[in-house]
Structure formats: structure tokens, C-alpha cells
């Protein structure tokens, strides 16, 4: 595996190699060639953005926003400071893909960010790394040191006048700092709270300057696309869903882990890669895109292919690609209780509906789980969730509401049983 050929694995190809995170490994396999070519040949930013648009690379952090389009929003000719920020604050329950990129392939991210800096006119970049993975942070710092010493970061790269500094910054474990504007506040040293948009980061971002924020996997895909072209990337996936994607498969499977497969791969295939459901149990439900995505019942899921459009059509979201697999032994009330506790705990407290509503939902679900449910509780939960969703500054409100609504929609019977019988159905 290497970057020299258009391999089907874009981000995880170094995992099989010795010293996967080292600069030597990366360079020996074609690393930093894309950056060198772009900078020394002065490839136009427009051309690279056009390649990104062709590639149909969509944001890997959860929203699936087309990356080429996002980059085109940046006022690249704006004369003052501009920033490129990488969002490695991987806090979505079930997601553990970005830490593997940082662990095994940090240089591809560095190269991707340097290319982004070149295209977007940013001389400084930040990589905001989740606060609970210090070991990964250290690995990335080491990679930064290597890259600086080898002249891939710093002033006058490759003898041109292009300068790019990259810094790592680690958070302290707040989920909300994965929201892009809260992340910016956190880098600025403030309390991590989302900002109201507009203005969007592209016009008023870090320190009030134009800023582009992308997910780790997104930025790490950029060198591959620059190297092999947007069309090759697109062809790895399916139309409007270019490239492969890392899926973090967790839960009741035999081989949980990260799997980089082309977008559009049937879910059944992914499940098989992960060794199938444990103990030969029956599949009950899947959360296909991290805890904020609505849950889907097994039968719906088995008909899906793993790409943004198909999962959306099925009524959920591909999100960050965190596939949480639940078998028939799972009590859906208990599962939802745990999920809603997470959002209750992680709400930043800024907006009224989320601050007050997440606690309300958790307490009601907690009651149901503990045999104190009331007949009106399901209607109440649905109504409270509906009153949070769409009423807050950031998407955490929606993220807290969607699991509740989807669990009630698909597994309402289990909740009724809990309320009536005061015990578990499974």
C-alpha cells in the first residue's frame, strides 16, 4: 500500500506498515509529493477546488457538507490573516476513526492541511485534538516536529514564498467543542460555547478572521485527491458520495474496529467485515452515524448501503460513520437512557431549550427505566424532543432530540411495556 498508486484505502493505508506514523514511512510511500508539486508548480487554488468538487468529497465529521463548496466560500483574496482549522475533537459516542488517522497517518493530515493553507491563503493552521486522547496528541506533536525539521512546515517551503505554520491544540473533553464555532471559542481560550451563525466562520472565524474548519478524515483525504485527481476519488465511491470512508463499527459485533470501505458498500458487507453479530444473536437495531443519528431497525438497515444519500433516505444520517450495532439482548429503554444522559451532561447550557430540555428528557427516561413510568410519558417525551429540535443555536439540541424521537418511533412498544409492566421486555 502507498500513496503512489490510487489505492482503495485513502486514510488507513499506513496501518499495515511498520512505524506507520513516521515521516520516513510516509515519504517513502509517496508522502508530501502532492504538497511539493502544488507549491513548487504553483498550482492554482481554483484548480484544486475544482478537483475537490469533482471528487464529491463530503465532510467526514458528520454533516457531509461538500468540501470543495466549503473551500470556495473562503475569501481567499482577503488580505489579512486567515486560518485553516482541523477538527479532531472526536467526541461523538461511537466514533473512533480520527484518532486512528492521527495515530497511524498523521503526516497525511499535515500534508492535507498544508495544501489547504496553500489553497485558502492561510499561513497558520490549528489541529484541535480531543482532550481525552493525550497519547494521540503526543504522536501528532512528534509528527509536527518531524515535518518542521524536514521542511514541510515553516517558512518558505520548498524554496518558495509559501509559509505555513501548524499547531496542535488539545481540548479538555467537552463534547460541545467538536461543534466548529465552540471549537474556535475554545482555541481562543474562552468557554466552549457555539456562536450564533451567521456570521459563518468563512467570514468571521478564529480571532474574527476568515477560517475554514474541516474534519481530520476530510483533510487527510486531500493529498490523495491532489495526487490522483478528483475523478479517481469519485470512482472509489458512488456519485455524490465520493471516495471511501472510515466506519467505526462498535457494539455487538465480533470484530469491532475501523473499516475503510467505499461509500455505497452495502451495510451487510460492512457487518460481515466486522465479523457479524456476536454470539450468533439476531441483529436488532443500528445507529448508523454516531449517537446523534436516529436509530434504524435491523430490517431497514439491512437494505441500506453505507453512503450519505441512502442512509438519509432511510430516515437517519451517515454522520461521522460511527456504526453502533445492537443485538436482540439490548433493552432500548436503557440504551436511550444512557444516550440521553450523555446529551444532558454535554449540553453547554447556553440555549434555553437544550439546557432545560435535555435534563427533563433524561429524568423522564430514567423514571421509565426504573419502573416509574407514566402513561403520558411517551407523548411528553416526543413533545419535549420536538420542542428542543430546531430551537437552539447549534445542532446539539437536535442531536439530543433525534435519538429520543427515533427510539420512540421504532421501539415504542418496548417503552409501553416498561411503563405498563415496570420491567424490561428483553
Amino acid at each position: 500500500m502507498s500513496l503512489l498508486k490510487p489505492t482503495p484505502q485513502v486514510c488507513s493505508w499506513t496501518q499495515a506498515l511498520d512505524h506507520s506514523a513516521s515521516l520516513a514511512t510516509y515519504v517513502a510511500n509517496g508522502g508530501y509529493q502532492a504538497l511539493r508539486r502544488v507549491v513548487t508548480e504553483q498550482v492554482s487554488g481554483d484548480a484544486i477546488i475544482a478537483e475537490l468538487k469533482t471528487s464529491a468529497l463530503r465532510g467526514r465529521g458528520g454533516a457531509g457538507f461538500p468540501t470543495g463548496l466549503k473551500w470556495s466560500f473562503m475569501p481567499r483574496a482577503f488580505p489579512g490573516d486567515k486560518y485553516i482549522v482541523c477538527n479532531s475533537d472526536e467526541g461523538e459516542p461511537g466514533t473512533f476513526k480520527d484518532r486512528d488517522i492521527l495515530r497511524h497517518n498523521p503526516h497525511q493530515l499535515i500534508e492535507g492541511m498544508a495544501i489547504a493553507g496553500y489553497v485558502l491563503g492561510a499561513r497558520v493552521g490549528y489541529n484541535y485534538i480531543h482532550g481525552e486522547i493525550f497519547e494521540i496528541y503526543d504522536i501528532f506533536e512528534r509528527a509536527l516536529k518531524e515535518a518542521r525539521e524536514a521542511g514541510y512546515l515553516g517558512d518558505n517551503l520548498f524554496g518558495t514564498d509559501f509559509c505555513f505554520q501548524l499547531h496542535a491544540h488539545h481540548g479538555y473533553g467537552a463534547y460541545i467543542c467538536g461543534e466548529e464555532t465552540a471549537l474556535l471559542e475554545s482555541i481562543e481560550g474562552k468557554k466552549g460555547q457555539p456562536r450564533f451563525k451567521p456570521p459563518f466562520p468563512a467570514s468571521f472565524g478564529l480571532y474574527g478572521k476568515p477560517t475554514t474548519i474541516n474534519n481530520t478524515e476530510t483533510l487527510a483525504s486531500v493529498p490523495w485527491i491532489v495526487q490522483h485527481g478528483g475523478q479517481a476519488f469519485l470512482e472509489l465511491g458512488k456519485p455524490n458520495n465520493g471516495g471511501p470512508k472510515l466506519f467505526s463499527v462498535s457494539g455487538h459485533v465480533n470484530k469491532p474496529g475501523n473499516y475503510e470501505v467505499p461509500l455505497g458498500t452495502p451495510f451487510a458487507e460492512l457487518l460481515e467485515l466486522a465479523g457479524g453479530v456476536r454470539n450468533g444473536h439476531k441483529l436488532k437495531a443500528v445507529i448508523p452515524g454516531g449517537s446523534s443519528a436516529p436509530v434504524l431497525p435491523a430490517e431497514v438497515m439491512m437494505d441500506c448501503t453505507m453512503d450519505f444519500d441512502c442512509i438519509a433516505k432511510a430516515g437517519s444520517m451517515l454522520g461521522s460513520g460511527a456504526v453502533i450495532v445492537m443485538d436482540e439482548t439490548v433493552c432500548m429503554v436503557r440504551a436511550l437512557e444512557r444516550l440521553s444522559y450523555f446529551y444532558f451532561e454535554e449540553s453547554c447550557g447556553q440555549c434555553t431549550p437544550c439546557r432545560e430540555g435535555t435534563g427533563w428528557m433524561y429524568r423522564v427516561i430514567h423514571r421509565i427505566e426504573h419502573g416509574q413510568g407514566r402513561p403520558e410519558d411517551m407523548e411528553l417525551l416526543n413533545s419535549v424532543a420536538g420542542r428542543i429540535g430546531g430551537h437552539t443555536i447549534c445542532a446539539l439540541g437536535d442531536a439530543a432530540a433525534m435519538p429520543v424521537q427515533s427510539f420512540l418511533k421504532h421501539f415504542g412498544r418496548e417503552f409501553e411495556y416498561h411503563i405498563e409492566q415496570k420491567r424490561c421486555m428483553v
Binding site: 467537552a174 460541545i176 468557554k191 450564533f196 451567521p198 444532558f344 451532561e345 454535554e346 449540553s347 453547554c348 447550557g349 447556553q350 440555549c351 434555553t352 431549550p353 437544550c354 439546557r355 432545560e356 430540555g357 435535555t358 435534563g359 427533563w360 429524568r363 423522564v364 423514571r367 411528553l380 413533545s383 420542542r387 428542543i388 430546531g390 430551537h391 437552539t392 443555536i393
Partner: protein, 784 residues
Amino acid sequence: MATLNIEIDGRALQVESGDTIMDAANQAGITIPHFCYHKKLSIAANCRMCLVQVEKAPKPLPACATPVTDGMKVYTRSEYAINAQKSVMEFLLINHPLDCPICDQGGECTLQDLAVGYGGSSSRYQEIKRVVRDKNLGPLIATDMTRCIHCSRCVRFGQEIAGVMELGMPGRGEHTEVMPFLESQVASELSGNVIDLCPVGALTSKPFRYTARSWELSRRPSISPHDSLGSNLEVHVKDNKVMRVLPRENEDVNECWLADRDRFSYEGLNTAERLTQPMVKYNGQWMETTWQAALEFVADKLKTIPAEQIGALSTPYRPAEELFLLQKLMRGMGSGNVDHRLRQSDFSLDDKAHGGFWLGMPVTYMSRLNRMLVVGANLRKDHPLMAHRIRESVRWYGELNLINAHEDEFLGKVHAKRIVAPSQLASTLAGVCRALAELKALPVPDIAAHGVADDTARKMADSLSGGETRAVFLGNMAQHHPSYSQIHALAQEVSRLAGASFGVLGEAANSVGAVAVGAIPGCGALGQPALKGLNAQQMLAQPLRAYLLLSVEAELDTHDPVAAIASINAAEFVVMMSPYKGKSLDYADVLLPIAPWTETSGTFVNTEGRVQSFSAVVKPLGETRPAWKVLRVLGNLLGLAGFEHNDSKEVLRDALGDTPLGSVQAFLDNEVSGVKVEPPSPGEGLERVAEVPIYQTDAVVRRSPSLQMTLDASLPVARMNSRLIAKLGLQENGRVSVRQTASALTLKVQRDDFLPDNCVRVPSGHPLTAGLGPMFGPITAEPV
């Protein structure tokens, strides 16, 4: 700015681009419910109460933060919008305590009001409600944090208006709490405004707490009698008693803010120290008497004393009508001995000025200055809301330059500063004057010949030559300075060279008015020629036979309390007109109870020359009478002409004519000519640096219990820099014995490394330091 066409609730509107939906709705008189939005604060958009429906938007949008776009259609009352608003209200109420009957905010609570429109009649929330521990924010602000709805207005106020973030919102989600950092008190001089900003009963007034319900109060307009801004007040009255004071919005003066001094001083109105009956000292005993007897006694006694042996002194905190009649009375008797500048020590400008000194510009301009030089001012403490306006200028990239004898945190960016001993203030200013002349290649003015243009002076000169709007201001310390005339003349030259506006920040509520009505020697109302006489310092340096004191507490209100008390004690007849007994029981012979500003009508002229008349808000306490009536009757008893006024309006007309505002504005002029400047002699020994503490400025404030419990009212200490502490062999926080002209005083040593060398900073105007001597000049300090 382009004009956009939008539609709100079916009404076609034209609004400026850049406006938000909230702005547009406010202009059209459409009310959108809100909590976190406040016109003077940044947009937080976090309460979500102002969610409205916008055509083509996928979800309801907050009106406060959403900019209008051309053709936008907004529905604030549609079912969709109301549903969103009701949702938010339900969430706000689930954890809010149902304690409206015992909540001070009841009746004026935004949450209570909006809950009527958007809340349900019963709650669907059946879980345990949140309880939040109360915080101690000091003596002025009461907390009930369980009621907090996290709108963050108080936090933003600190960051954006007061200049210091004393409250923060740590914690996450439901556990978010508003609290002061490290359990400290809130010490800002503007802190009381968070009470008004708080839309619920989380932050309420501690002095007012549980004393009245808001609907029992009559609201009466008034004017603040403290600093020279003349903040507009709304005084709340119940049963003929002032219960609390709130700001009355006036964009040109105090906006919607109020300094704590203006807000809480009312507590000093009804203290046991109030004088409620005329009193006469008879055989060394104080006897209560009638007004008739007291005033006849005063008139008879004054007739026996030669007019030039009588001195009349007033504080600059009294209304213009009283000051006018006081000088009229004196001049009627044939004496020009009248003054109100009790803390001034250099009066040599009296024959060099062409009019009354003033701010030199409207107050509103102070918010948008590009370049400023402020000399000898304790901005935040002496002029809290003007300091806020200057901070606003600084936030808009204005450059503030300071020359002062001490440095207190301004809470904003300072471009350049020179902190020098008081004796070096004039020569430092001369240095800036020279640097500016050299920079502009103009001849150096003669009075600045001795100035040295050092780096700081050049930096200030550079700054003052840029920008479009420039101003030079003199503060209270400059006006009290023994070389005030030189400082004034030099500042005038600096402003002339810089093309800057030149202003004097008025010391007190009626500093400008007192001069305008002629309460100074040699100058009658509006500058008409009048009898010359002794100024305040001359009257107090050598004893006169009689003194007429208008609310003067000589041991606190004067430049040199030691000399003042000595002279007054030596006088044979002292008449004290005051709302309070105070120390005058020791030195007065007659005490006449006159009304504080709440019990009389009157007029204050603020520092920009704004003439603000007010009416009494309550009836006078006991036998108290408005001072203008007392002086009028005294004039009659003395057989003087021109004391026939029937009300205070007639007095004002007598003083300032039919158009007071126009006459005052025409009279104001900061120009002086013919000042000679001498290079300062190098000082020997130690110098005193003295300021009047913010809550010691006048008789009412001194008696306000809550203000006296604040950090700003802490006991005086002797501050000096660490070099001086070492040189004198003192210990930080140890004791030091300081002495000026009279007895020695033992104070605590406090290190203040922002002070210049060889300066000892001891506040004036405080009972503890009254025995020291003048505000400036030599002082000795030695270990105890």
C-alpha cells in the same frame, strides 16, 4: 446603507441593511418577546424567546440575531412562531421557582409578564426542580440564583460596559451558574446596573430588598446630585419616603445606566443624623427653636458684623437657585465673600478666565473620540459613566493618553501614560506641549519652554496629532492642584496645537451651575461684574468673624481641613444650613435644616452646560425647608431688595434669565489668557497624593450605609511604592505614622508600585484623614 424592503406580520417596512429583525420590529412598534437581547449589549441569541417564523427558513430564527434581507417575510405571531415561543417559555419555567409572591422582581419581572402570554396554566414538568446556591456579591446586589434564567446579560454587562468581567458563567448544561470569580465581591462602580438588566429576580437590590412591592411605588423624575454628569433619575416613593432610585433613560446623558453612587445614595436621606428642627446654641447648649426665631436671630447677629467679615461657603452639590440666592444675599449685605470651590487651591485663573469652565463638548461626543489626553483625573471613581463613554471610545479604537499622579485600573486600553509626582504634573504637560509643537514644526509656546519632550511625551504628541476627533480633559485632581492655572493654560496650548477640543470634567453635580449663577468672588450670575471678595481658600486661611455654610462639612469638603476647622472654630458666629447635624454640632452656632435634593425643587447644570431642573419627590422631613426659601426669608429679614421670589422657577429666572440653557451655553468658555508658567522647583522630601474617595464626595453619600460597606469605602491606607517602603524602613501591611501640618496619623502601609517615587497616597475627604492637612504638598512618613 442600502434600504431593504421587508414585511413583518404583513406590514411592509423599509429598513437599513445590517439591521436585525428585532431592530426592524422595534422601529415598527412590533413587540417580540425576549430576555437575553438588550439594545446596549452584544447579541447572545441564547434565550431563544424571540424565535420568529421567516418565510423559506427551515426552522424558526431568533429575531435578535438574524439580519434582514431584501424581501424577507417575517411572522412574529403566526402559529408556528407562537409555538416556538411557547416551547421556550415552557423550558424557562420548568426549573424556575414559583416564588413570585416573595420575589422582589414581582410586578416588574419580564419572565412573569411574558409567562402570562406564553406560559401554560400548569406545568408538565413533574421532576425535581433545580436549586442553585446563592452568591455573595457584596452589599449592593442581592442574589437568588435559583431564579436565574441564564440570559447572560449581567455577564455581558461586565465585559462590555463596566469593563471588568466580575461575573462569569462557569459550568455546563443545567449546571451552568452565574457567579463571581473566586468568591470575590462585585466591586465595579457601575455594578448596580445588573439589577436593572436582570430580567428575573436573580439579581435584586440589597438595600431595597423586601421593603416594598413595585406596584406600591410612585415613580417621580429627578436628577442625580453627585457627579457632574447629572444622571437622570426615576425616584420610587412610598408613603413620602424614597424607597429606591432607578435610571431614567436619557441617551444624551446617562443612557440607560446609573453609577452605584447615584443609585444607592438615597439610603443616606433618612438617617438618624437628619436635622429636622432649627437649632440654636445657647450658653453652650443646643436648643430646638422655630424657624421664625432662628432666622431673626441669624439676621440680627449678621447685622452686627461688618459684611467683609462674613464668608459664605457652599458645596458644589447644591441646586443653582440656592447658590444664586446665597451670593445675592452676601452681595446685598455688601460682601463679595462667596465661593463653592472648597477643594480648589489655585484661584489665580479668576481674573484670567472669560467664562465658566465646562466639558467643551456634549457628553455624547465622549463615546466617539479618536484621540484623548486626560490630565489629573481619577476617571472611574470621579466620573463613572463618563469613564464608560471614554472606554467606549477606546473600544472603537480610540487612543487614550493619561497624565496623572497615581494609576488606578482604567479597565480599558491606555495608549500612553505618565505617572508623576503632583509637583511634576505641569512640567510633564509642558513636555507634551513641546513635543507637539516640534512634531508640527510650530514655535514652542513660551509657557512650555521648560518642558522636556521625552519618548512618552512624543508618543502622546504623535497620538494627539492623529485621528479625527480629539480632546484634552482636565480631571478633579488637576483642578484641586496648587498649580491649576498652569495646568489649565498648558492643556489649552496642547489642545490648540493638536486641534483638539478642550474640556474640564466638572468636579460636582453643580460645579458649572455654581459659577454660572455667580457663586464665586468678583463674578455675578452669567459673568456680570459683581463685588470682589475672598475666595474659599482665603476665607478659610484666616478666620473671619462669621461664616454662612451651605451644607459644608468643613472637615471633609475642603482642600485643607485643618486650616478650615481652625478658622471656623475661631469665628464668633457660624450658621450651618444642612440636612444633617454632623460635626457642625461642634462648631456651628445655628443649625438650619434644609432639604436634600429629593425634598426641594431646583436645578443642576451638568458639565456640558445642560440645565436640568427637577421637582421635589417627597415632602420635607420634619421642619426641613428648601434652602432657597430659607435664603429668601433671610434676605427679607435683612431688609435686602430683590428677594420676592414665589417659587424656585422665579429664582432660576432671576439668575439665568428666561432661556437658562442658551444663557449658560453662551457663558461657558474654557479660554484663559495671561498665565505665567514657572518651571517647578525640584521637590524635596515626600509629596502627598490625595483623592476624594468615591463614596465620600458629599454629605448624602457619606451617610449611605450600603455604599459605606463596599470595597471602595474601605478605610484609608497610606500607599507608596516598594522603593519608598524600603527607603523608609517600613513593612508592607505594617503601620506608618504620617504627618503634614497638624497631628500625626497612624495608617496601614499598602504597596502600590504604580505610584511615583517619593509620593505617599492618602485619601482626603475621609473622617480618618481629616486631621492631616492640605490635599497636596509635603508629608512626612516614618515607622511607628
